[in-house]
Symmetry: C3
Subunit: 333 residues, 3 copies
């Protein structure tokens, strides 16, 4: 693995909007190192975060993301404190910032934060900095804004497939990637757009008009030139190298944004026959949990020739180890 | 402790129906070793599962069984991931198999599974094998089917009482054991029948007719010859060496299977006076949690001369250490 | 740090009513040592409770207190079992004592207990002693009775401020301390009264008449001579060295014990202007979580010149490490 000449300086991981190519590559390379050295070779624990406290502040319930961060932190030998609103003081009227400050005062070193509202991790990070604490904040999903670790694990999954010895951002240059589904409400899509466009990939979004955001005018010019929007699936899939299906929340139907799951599946569900439009080696990703027969046909999801869904989950632990390791390392500079 | 000449080959622990006498003895001997060396002598942690990930997938809530497995895994130095439906993606429509595959992809080595429906641990084990994973599945209670670790801890509790230096299956030969209560709905009873009959004990079931299953015709002949069914308590208790009381779910009354708890206690509740029918050294077991004054009289439950209930809980940690250790050891063959 | 010539003999920590000055000083000195050696100098883990099992039995939900005990136990290298009623057998009809005995049988060494009802930790401790177990019970808040670890962390916070090299009880002699708010329902106030009066401080309680208990007649004479009760805030604040604000439960208004939060804030809320009555260096404490703009003005809470609230949370981990360490050490005598 090539060594990087740069050092990691980012203290919080809140958004991928201003991630540099060097930063993407450092995440990819460290995740690759952890995946190989730590996860595959049997020595599953390393002591890099020994005595550090990682707090999972999950104001929105989640099992898979919390478990993934928890396992990543345990493999780095950190101590974990789990906070979730089900058992929290939030019902007692405490503010979110006060909850975060309580964990700061207890000795938390890294806060992994998920919240229904966009901007909560930023607000907490800002407060931590204002207090001159050394706490790092890691956004584990905020409203419809961003979910950086998910996009980074998607990136790692794809780049590792393209070159398992040396996964790096530039491998995606000129690849065609379709992102399909509820773009409007998806923090996963928003984070992925930043990383994929940064890689030089051609990013094609496909969604029913009711599930597409109006905000693309706000993206800078260099992004828009590699970002394409479609109201139908076909132009996005045509010759695609990778297809990312997004999760459909069933609540969207109550909001009259979707007619029925059956109709959605017919128009935007990824099936074996629709994949014939793509490149022959096309691969399918999904952030999970999957509604089988809605976003993806059930047989396709289980077909290792096409599906990268299990790889994504495995990548998640390695990428989160890399993120915790990198932001942990900034604390001692 | 005698050494066994056999090696452990069972990869999943789903049912006791096909457990061999050698397997029972290996569980008993390893549990005994852990109980003595690890629990009693102060060196409470051993590193045999260091770096291994044990996932508690509890689709049905449980405190005592989950805590027992969690403590057993911690004492073997494993990392634990707790999953329970309260905070899960199940509400998001993910299938049970997909949940299990997510934890497989994260790196789980052993899955401890409890579910309301019979057969779920088997289905997950089958899927893990189909995927050529090395994951072991441990059934921690599935519907009204089986609860192997509970029956094994009951067996260990009894055998240790009979010979604490060398607990083994054959010690139970020709002992009379009464199992009293809601046999129909009890996974504990079903697992216990397999182990106790395998030991050569005489197993007497006593329950109101509404709480007895019709399925004994389906048992093989060699089991039926040691299995006796009674609609009254007396013939089961007469000269019994051990009495296992089962838990009464209060919902059974709503289902009109039981007239009242008071009447149940009068007819089938274990009391000091009823125990006079048994052997003089008779002991009482209960899987817990106990409804005092329903299945057992309150004073009897607290009397160490008769009650093995605390011993059962203590045995649970040692037996689960043994099970995790034995199935963990098959991974490196 | 001076060495103490006494040894710790208290096995359970249930109440501060009979704490001796030596005991207070041993807690303060050990907490100080942990705060300095363990928390500040980077070696955050010590192995003093390696292999010991600390069980958090929280029959009443709590995040901050449970997290604080959990982190303290982890830093002492203990194994933790978390129990909370949300996922418990309590719904299955098991008694509280039986739940505690289950954890005893599993191998718990220390039980940290919180319950809505006063006296539950005492009852469990009594049962543990009756059974000749070596389990120690630590009261983490019982009804409106006591919350000893909170009062001890308050004491440590204050004494450390007065002399960070050598915090000890006598530093508080003749200091004036105001406790403001819902004294009637506050276990925090009850525990603080014992420690503060023992220190020789002048303790002034201020609350609306509906939120003041009638029970001061029952205190011994030597306590009453240092304990003063006011129906208004001003006499309590006048020349105070420290002000402890208590949490207002919003349910109190439904019970018609409080007219409105706005009126409460006007009369008893701690604000910058009201603090002018106090000593110039006055400090404000609050056990948290704070209702900003009810018990304390929001700007005051965030002002490190006045607020000790973050210090209290940090002290909490060190004090709980000291308590777990001290009662852990009695087990080997």
């Amino acid at each position: 693995m090539p060594t990087t000449t740069t050092t990691w300086t980012r203290h919080h991981i809140l958004s991928l909007a201003d991630f540099t190519p060097d930063e993407y590559d450092m995440v990819l390379q460290n995740a690759s190192r952890f995946q190989k050295d730590v996860l595959s070779r049997g020595t599953k624990k390393v002591a890099v975060l020994q005595g550090q406290v990682v707090t999972n502040l999950f104001f929105e319930p989640s099992t898979r993301t919390r478990s993934s961060f928890e396992l990543a932190a345990k493999r780095l030998s950190a101590d974990i404190l789990n906070f979730s609103t089900a058992t929290s003081s939030m019902t007692k009227g405490e503010t979110i910032l006060d909850t975060a400050k309580t964990y700061l005062a207890m000795g938390a070193n890294i806060m992994v934060i998920r919240h229904r509202e966009a901007g909560v991790p930023h607000a907490i990070a800002k407060e931590m900095d204002r207090l001159n604490s050394k706490v790092s904040v890691l956004n584990a999903g905020d409203g419809q804004h961003e979910h950086p670790s998910q996009a980074l694990l998607d990136l790692f999954t794809i780049c590792t497939l393209l070159d398992s010895d040396n996964p790096r951002l530039r491998l995606l240059k000129d690849k065609k990637i379709a992102i399909v589904g509820d773009i409007l409400h998806s923090r996963v899509a928003r984070s992925n757009i930043w990383s994929l466009v940064a890689s030089g990939a051609q990013v094609h979004l496909a969604a029913p008009p009711t599930l597409l955001p109006q905000l693309f005018a706000s993206y800078p010019q260099e992004i828009c030139s590699n970002l394409f929007v479609h109201w139908e699936l076909e132009p996005a899939l045509k010759n695609a190298d990778f297809v990312m299906a997004l999760r459909i929340q069933k609540e969207r139907m109550k909001e009259h944004l979707l007619p029925s799951l059956r109709e959605y599946y017919q128009l935007f569900g990824i099936t074996r026959s629709k994949l014939r439009m793509c490149k022959p080696n096309v691969k399918v990703l999904h952030p999970g949990p999957v509604n089988r027969g809605v976003e993806i046909s059930s047989d396709l999801m289980d077909d290792p020739e096409f599906s990268l869904i299990s790889n994504q989950v495995t990548s998640g632990v390695a990428v989160r180890m890399a993120l915790l390791y990198l932001i942990g390392s900034t604390k001692f500079m």
